[in-house]
Symmetry: C2
């Protein structure tokens, strides 16, 4: 069919292009080049392949779409607008403006239809692998022979920049390993990056690389509607491999002076070039934000089809509920992000009789219980299970059933209980901390699962770009970080965290918990499961710690308030001195407190497992824990002192380490750096002496 503006395909594609161009021009800011080049493949994908219902953006079985090249956001907003999501003409006009639904890069939670927050390159690709993994897990767990409740694709548009990023390489390798056949990536190979043509820095054979990862690879002309259509059909037909479609495109297509140049990448075309470009498209040169009637009609068909698909699924879901009421209840609960009733009833309580216990081991006991009571807890580690103690026993390994060795799935050497195919709940991320983290975010945003990932605390540095996006997009993920201090010992400074705790505390919307003993660890896991809006990181020891005697000390439920008075020399009266400690240093503070008491110094010990939870408490509560009039304060944490002035003030003292660690047995490292009862006491006396001077 043709119209005065060209074939219906052309009209629709040029609608997407010109909406994007106009939005960028109006904002006087943004990236027009990608939408102009990628519009044909986005159009084919969104009209002929992708299954979604614009009237119900949260339909659980929708195909997921990730614009990994998030700088092309104008294209995504244009697609959402024309297909009938709640992204209006006004929203497009307010692109990149304060409070708009159309921010500079796509943000989940801000714009209906945006599945993940993207922009920093490579992240969306990693998220997409997580979306595809969550889909496979839910399908393997909840589908029944006659009911495919979960059965959708995850589509990605990625750029040269995405594919240069290491996180993308890690995620692609794992996706190949897991044979995620329902993951399909359109690679917008426009051969232009921000500063150069890719032949300067990116001469590798991307297709061959992905083939080496075990992907299906096709190379096509991305400007050719029929070629894109055929490639997507072939990609969907291959269930056994994720698909990369290397689509040769032209950045800034249609712009006479900027096509195929990095000048089309990240700035408005300019008024004159916009007119020339519209002329080249056969578009009315003086139009703004034009959606021709024939395009409206075409996209209306897509919307109607999506509504039908969603209705059919709802009816399928209803019959599933009738046939499998119990599983359906679990499924509904998982998708609603609700925890089962009494999920935490069997969490253990420890007493000193249980003997000293590393908090990583207490964490393992929490996981053991929660693995039973919360059936959609899934997770794993970046190849450190034996050390992080995060394996769910007898819950199977998440693997493709297509990977058979002698009729069997390859076995890990842990206690996962063997291979369960995609229904396995233990994920082996490999030594890929960064991809693990991006994947966890994708899984969380898919919905239906509560994902966790583990590694050593020092390697949280590798995860950081993805942690940030999890925090920014309110992803409910749990990080388990063990080997949490200098006490790591012999492995030395490369493996001893120092500044990681401060760095993570500095990040908005990141909740960090460093429990003092086994019981605080159990509480920390409870909090982590219940905390919905953003990631929670658990910081756990490798070394054994005493289990605090709650018969004489305050209960571990105080963990939920971030900080609490563990013990006071003279309850009811104000202490002379406050010792504030976290994690493994709490028992050190307690020993110092006792000895100070024997010298007649009345101190209070505050256990402060989480700054963020404490800051969320009322002023009143905070002042009750740290009375403003008591300025003699000492903090003890075997980590960077950075930031502790917040709680000890300028009159107090911080016991920390402002340098890197050293290779030696853990107890020796701690002793050499002053984490001893003697040093805490000496510091406390010095603080009291100064305070005495101040008031005398």
């Amino acid at each position: 069919m043709t119209t005065p503006l060209g074939s219906i395909d052309d009209v629709c594609i040029n609608t997407l292009r010109t909406l994007s161009i106009d939005a960028v021009e109006r904002a006087n800011s943004g990236h027009p080049g990608l939408p102009m080049g990628a519009a044909p493949m986005a159009y084919v994908l969104w009209t002929r392949h992708m299954r979604y219902d614009p009237t119900n953006p949260e339909w659980s079985n929708r195909d997921r779409f990730v614009l990994s090249a998030g700088h092309g956001s104008a294209l995504l907003y244009s697609l959402l607008h024309v297909t009938g999501y709640d992204v209006t003409f006004e929203d497009l006009q307010h692109f990149r403006q304060w409070g708009s639904k159309t921010p500079g890069h796509p943000e989940r939670g801000v714009t209906p239809g945006v599945d993940v927050t993207t922009g920093p390159l490579g992240q969306g690709f990693g998220n997409a692998v997580g979306l595809a993994m969550a889909e496979r897990w839910l399908a393997a767990t909840f589908n029944r022979p006659d009911h495919a409740l979960v059965d959708h694709y995850t589509y990605v548009i990625a750029s040269d920049g995405d594919l240069m990023e290491g996180v993308c390489a890690e995620a692609a390798s794992l996706a190949g390993d897991l044979r995620l056949g329902k993951l399909i990536v359109l690679y917008d190979a426009n051969q232009i990056t921000l500063s150069a043509t890719t032949n300067v820095t990116f001469s590798e054979d991307v297709g061959a690389r992905f083939a080496a990862y075990g992907w299906q690879v096709q190379e096509i002309d991305g400007m050719d509607v029929a070629a894109v259509d055929a490639a997507l059909t072939a990609a969907r037909a291959d269930d056994a491999h994720p698909s990369l479609i290397v689509a040769r495109t032209h950045i800034g297509f249609g712009s006479p002076n900027k096509v195929d140049s990095f000048h089309a990448h990240g700035e408005p075309l300019g008024k004159n070039e916009v007119m020339l470009t519209k002329r080249a498209y056969g578009w009315p040169e003086d139009s703004h934000f034009l959606v021709p009637e024939e395009a409206k009609r075409e996209f209306a068909k897509v919307r109607a089809n999506g509504e039908r698909l969603e209705r059919e699924w709802q009816s399928e879901m209803n019959s599933y509920r009738a046939a499998y009421p119990e599983i359906a209840r679990d499924f509904d609960r998982a998708l609603a992000a609700e925890l089962p009733p009494k999920w935490d009833a069997k969490l253990p309580v420890f007493t000193p009789k249980d003997g000293d216990m590393a908090t990583r081991d207490a964490g393992a006991k929490a996981i053991e219980v929660i693995a039973e009571s919360v059936p959609n807890l899934v997770g794993g580690s970046a190849d450190l299970d034996p050390s992080t103690r995060t394996m769910m026993k007898a819950k199977g390994d998440f693997q493709s059933a297509l990977v058979l060795e002698g009729g069997q799935l390859p076995q890990t050497q842990g206690a996962a209980g063997g291979a369960w195919g995609y229904a396995g709940r233990n994920i082996h991320f490999g030594i890929r901390e960064h991809a693990m983290t991006a994947i966890l975010t994708g899984m969380a945003h898919h919905g239906g699962v509560i994902p966790y990932g583990a590694t050593f605390l020092v390697f949280s540095d590798y995860m950081r770009p993805s942690i940030r996006l999890a925090a920014l997009s309110d992803a409910h993920v749990i990080y388990v970080w063990t080997h949490d201090s200098l006490a790591v010992g012999e492995d030395g400074p490369t493996h001893q965290p120092v500044e990681q705790i401060a760095s993570l505390r500095a990040m908005p919307n990141m909740t960090l918990i460093r429990p003092a003993d086994a019981n605080e660890t159990i509480e920390a896991w409870r909090i982590a499961l219940e905390h919905r809006n953003g990631p929670v990181g658990l910081v756990l020891t490798r070394q054994k710690l005493p289990i605090l005697n709650r018969a004489t000390l305050a209960p571990a439920s105080g963990t939920a308030r971030g900080a609490y008075v563990l013990t006071d020399a003279s309850p009811g009266a104000l202490p002379e001195l406050i010792l504030i400690a976290t994690g493994s240093e709490v028992s050190l503070a307690l020993s110092a407190h006792e000895q100070l008491g024997s010298e007649g110094i009345r101190s209070r010990v505050v256990s402060m497992p989480s700054w963020e939870l404490f800051e969320a408490e009322s002023n009143e509560y905070r002042d009750s824990v740290l009375p403003p009039t008591v300025s003699a304060r000492v903090s003890v944490e075997a980590a960077s002192p950075f930031g502790w002035e917040r709680y000890v003030g300028l009159a107090g003292s911080i016991i920390g380490v402002n340098h890197f660690g050293a290779s030696a047995p853990g107890p020796e490292v701690l002793r050499r750096y002053g984490f001893t009862v003697e040093h805490v006491i000496a510091t406390a006396r010095a603080v009291l002496a100064r305070a005495g001077k101040g008031t005398s």
Copy 2:
């Protein structure tokens, strides 16, 4: 030749194995598996191919060796010991002990012969690419037809874990692109990681992947001395491609019960298994740290050969000095890490008449001057030159002359002045922030160059694991981070840094400088060039800033002290209030100061570009800038408030942002979040009111 303990090869290899086993056993901590499997290839490399002089570990033209799999440190220490480096029998016995020369993972600066600090996986591989790049640059710059002063290989032993890491993928792609023919990687393909066999998570075809990057790839039996030897010879023969030798090995080789199992990876074998293993090697079972005489003789030959090679090179160097005295002087100076005399004489000084200027643009002016006066400054960006403004004009692009298009090197679209082959000083890292950072560290540790790398501040997160190792190993590198705050504006929260500054300040031995105007930026570059022991990060604005009027304000040379009094309402007397600001917020503080002055409030403005430099000053100086008796203090920084209590105390106020940013024009974002003169003044008044209460 055979001996009672086997062939001389076997004796030497088993010496390395048993020294490693004994060191781990004695420490009761460490990783015996890798040394046992990789000893044959290490032996062949260190005795038949690598050129080095154990008596002069810093010989500039030595082949470099990187044990990227740093957990195999015992193997490296064993090699250093037997070849005659200053690593003694006692050092091996003190493996992983306090103050020893043999820490858990190899640390540059601690052990003679250790070229880079490794351990966190993938990092050493990235460093190695940097070592190889520095070699190529120095060779292209300083060699003359009759004098190859710089002409060496960079050898790597890497593990499965290294090759799974994204940083390694990025670095490998760039190495292929740059055709680093003198980079040779032995991949210890033992197919075992810490928790599993690699078929669980790493089924990709690594060789095919590297071929796609443009590497020469060979697959061999890594336990076969002749095969290793032949592969190394073939790798050295290919000048046009970096080489990957996929060497199939057996972790824990010789251990009857632990070979090929992850149990051999990271813990001592145990007394009994050590005996069984020695028996399997035909080794005296009750020996400890045995180096048989025939092995001593063999390794002595290697040492003698190395001493000869180094002497020959010195004589070559002397004739070069005679033939090219001027270039030789530059070469000697570069290797001695000395700056040319008067290198900073032409650095510009700006006045308000120059108009408002973004600090990224002031940085560009610094680079323009330094590029001329410091001929071994090399650097580039992760594909953001046009934005970071870090291109050295007319200094050429660093590229392989083998990459020709129609007889020409491909041109970047900047103003680098064309392709200079490997003598080009502008490096195009591609969108690979992590590898860029690891590469910079490798270049710095090679010696001879002063490297810098640039990207947006928010993407420092991607760089973090490599920054940490640069800081830990005292690498002199310069990071240029632009787009340093919420003022980035429309690109939104994914691109607006918030917590990055605090996170970087928390890292030991990392010096961060956030200059307030163009003149502080020039000072910051001066400091960065002169600071030798650790990285310096420059935090620069995208938006224009006023140039502070130094006719009335203190000179910008105060930058070197980290913080300085910019202006005082009543010099000589103590102020009522101190406004402390950094970067773009300093001019805001100055405006507030003026208005407060008009209301009769005597305030001081402190510009604090660098916490670390300020902390290094005397107590006296610090107290003169921030008099302890003035507790009414307000800090202003458009970033996370985290840590600012250190300077404002509990009585002051911090103006910062403890949440993520938003997409809107930069000035609007700043205004909405309180970075206005009005808000600073209101905050100051509130602080003064509180202080008044406190003292009344």
